[in-house]
């Protein structure tokens, strides 16, 4: 009996004649209009609700059959949903029409404490804190040292060990001086592989399928009379021999957000990134002419060796792909 155990503690409210017990009591009257159900015709509402439940029963039984017989996803989903729809419909009708229609109210009490309550709390907190902490500066310091060391140590498993430092992987690709251009199967690409206006994704042999070394090799139409595609004036000096016989290669990693710049339009000689629609002009050093990409695609310097295979004169002379903090003006 709770009362007895209260009494043994000597704290029973009954022992204190002035103590008043507050018990919230519902002032209910069965005949109050709020307690009348909303339905004018309860019998009908009951039939409607129960037919919802019967529909649910049928739906779930159908779901069982569909599962057992391994019917298609459509029938599984349909029977399942019919089951839940019937259940939900019945419950809502029940709650809406066959329960007291209300409205009811409850009172709202202030949540903010009174000045006294707050004062008492603050006092208690401060006094106990004073006793426990004040004049224990040395303890606090040693505690701080211990937790601080733990915090620093913890940052290794939680952070540092998660991955290697970037180092050179962001600035260098697998392309090296003399790398062969190979396709995804590892086959070396030669001058006979591309139609005029054609294009192909190529990799260095050491990194086939690589996310950063993927490069687009394009055969621009018409082939240049001079033997090399003419670079725009600002690159005339260093890029004069980079595009032999009308073949030109650009990094396929978009300088905007790193998507593969996978579309080449032969007519306009533009490369398009399908993610955010940046357009690069292949005949103009892949300078972005439209969209959010801020920098041209890096160009891979090519040469054709004696056997007619494409090879890289060197790796890319700038980091490929999107920008990052450590990357300055190259």
């Amino acid at each position: 009996m709770p009362d007895e155990s209260d009494a043994t503690g000597g704290l029973s409210p009954r022992d204190d004649p002035d103590h008043r017990v507050r018990i919230p009591v519902t002032s209910l009257r069965a005949d109050a209009p709020q307690f009348q159900i909303a339905a004018k015709n309860p019998r009908r509402a009951e039939i409607v609700a129960s037919s919802g439940f019967l529909l649910a029963a049928a739906g779930f039984a159908g779901f069982g059959a569909a599962y057992w017989q391994n019917w298609s996803n459509f029938w599984l989903a349909l029977t399942f949903s019919v089951g839940f729809a019937g259940l939900g419909y019945g419950m809502v009708v029940w709650g809406r029409y066959l329960m007291p229609r209300g409205p009811f109210s409850e009172s709202r009490h202030r949540l903010a404490p009174t000045a006294v309550e707050r004062e008492v709390f603050v006092q208690d907190f401060a006094i106990r804190g004073k006793v426990a902490v004040e004049r224990r500066g040395f303890l606090l310091k040693t505690l701080g040292i211990a937790s601080g060391i733990f915090g620093v140590v913890l940052s290794f498993p939680l952070l540092r060990s998660l991955g290697p430092l970037p180092k050179k992987t962001l600035t260098q690709t697998a392309w090296r001086r003399g790398s062969y251009l190979v396709d995804i199967t590892g086959r070396k690409i030669s001058t006979s592989d591309l139609e005029v206006g054609g294009f192909i994704t190529v990799f260095p042999e050491t990194d086939i399928g690589g996310a950063y070394s993927q490069t687009m090799l394009i055969r621009v139409d018409p082939p240049p009379a001079s033997g090399y595609l003419t670079p725009p004036p600002q690159f005339a000096k260093q890029r004069a021999t980079w595009a032999p016989q009308g073949y030109i290669a650009f990094s396929k990693v978009c300088t905007h957000a790193g998507c593969p710049v996978g579309l080449y339009e032969e007519l306009t000689k533009q490369m398009l990134c399908p993610c955010h629609q940046s357009l690069f002009d292949v005949t103009d050093a892949a300078i972005p002419i439209f969209g959010p990409a801020p920098r041209p695609l890096p160009q891979l310097p090519l040469y054709i060796d004696d056997e007619g295979f494409f090879r890289a004169q060197d790796g890319y002379d700038e980091p490929v792909g999107p920008g990052y903090w450590e990357r300055g003006n190259d």
Partner: protein, 519 residues
Amino acid sequence: MIDALFNWFDERLGISGSGRKMLNKIFPDHWSFLIGEIALYSFIVLLGTGVFLTLYFVPSSKDIVYEGPYAPLRGQIVSEAFASTLKLSFAVRGGLLMRQMHHWAANIFVGSIVVHMLRIFFTGAFRKPRELNWIVGSTLLILAIFNGFLGYSLPDDLVSGTGIRISFSIVESIPLIGSYAAFFLFGGNFPGNAIIPRFFILHVLILPAVIVGLLSAHLGMLVRQKHTQFPGPGNTPRNVVGAPLWPTFVAKTTGFMCLTVAVTGLLSAFFQINPVWLYGPYVPYKVSYAVQPDWYMGWLDGALRIMPSWEIVGFGHMIPNVFFPAILLPGITFGVLQAWPFIEARITHDHAEHQILDRPRDRPKRTAFGAAVFSFYFVLFGASSTDVLANYLSISLNVVLTSFRYLAVGVPVVVFAVTYRICKEMQRVPTAGKRKRANVVLRSAEGGYSTVPAEQRPGDAVPRVEPLPLDEDIQFLPALAGAPRAGNGSPEEQAPEPPAEQSDGGRRGGVFTIPRVYR
């Protein structure tokens, strides 16, 4: 039997007192209060279907040769994650249903949170004392968006893999720590093998745990602070008017939960979602046309697209282009969102407690501002399909993109002005939104006209019923509390009680029996 069981628990946990208070918790009857419930119930669907999915999904990017029942991909090299997603879709009984329901429920989850948040915003429900709950709620929105992104990245298909690639670039773009953060998150340079298992544990354990915790806090604060309510006859700042938790609300809300499940199921029956077998496995050098994220990431994708091609370079460092639309914009968005209650209080100097909701028209500036901001994100969302629009409307991509740049600036301005104007107009018509009583014009035989009000339409003439307080505190003397049997009336009792049928009185000091009125 049930009595005995209840007693057993009650004696040990003391349920009756606080439990009865809980039974009386009032839920206002307004449709807009249901939107948050949709979010809650779609989250339950997510948990249920998600547990099913974890039984079969393999979070690994290890390459294997696909040998499953889907013929077009047989023999191809795919990751274990992708292969297990196909297995879930084709070989596991009910697996496709669970996958589709999970994905649909995620879309509904984020969507209902957004609409719920708009309701809270436009009615001013975030004002004192509910600022904390606004912060918790908007944090839930952020987590829901994040977890949605992580979730649809897991199957390792071509579309989601491209999304992961973009997310790497976005993390990489953060000044100072970006490249380190990206390498630590991905366990090395993109793509690596770590990201699928890491996203998996974040998606199924860590973020759901945080969401459940915050959700509990959200609902706990709701119970503690009680609901707000719209102004209306009988609604005062000192009360809450509506239906009690037991039994009316329980019946309605359980039904509503079932209906939410049913709608999710029907969507999964009729509308295919995320058919990853059509996209194929992710390969870093491949990409498909019309690469779009789920809708709740659309505004970010749109922002990435319409951002001018700027980039800040200097002092040997770079702030990349994607930083502005993908880090700065969401940072400002969510920052302002979380701080909004305080921003508004600072502007209006309104630091009072508010339990009664605003009608949006009565706060034209807030309403216009909210509508303008929302329209901005809506334009960004539209901009995430520039390529599809250009293709569909057969106009040049350049025109579409340029127009979106102008729209992003122009639409919010127009929306602000128009919304403000509409609010002002509506204020002037007090009956706006209410049904008007029709007039019947009669022409007499002599040609004269007279007007009489039409008959009341059904539903218009329902007499208003005063709300009945469920929790009136009455005070009584301890001496009376000691009485062995209940219900024989303390002097302060306000309403005569119906005859008591059965009593739990002896156990609790014999004060009252609860009248059984729900017969």
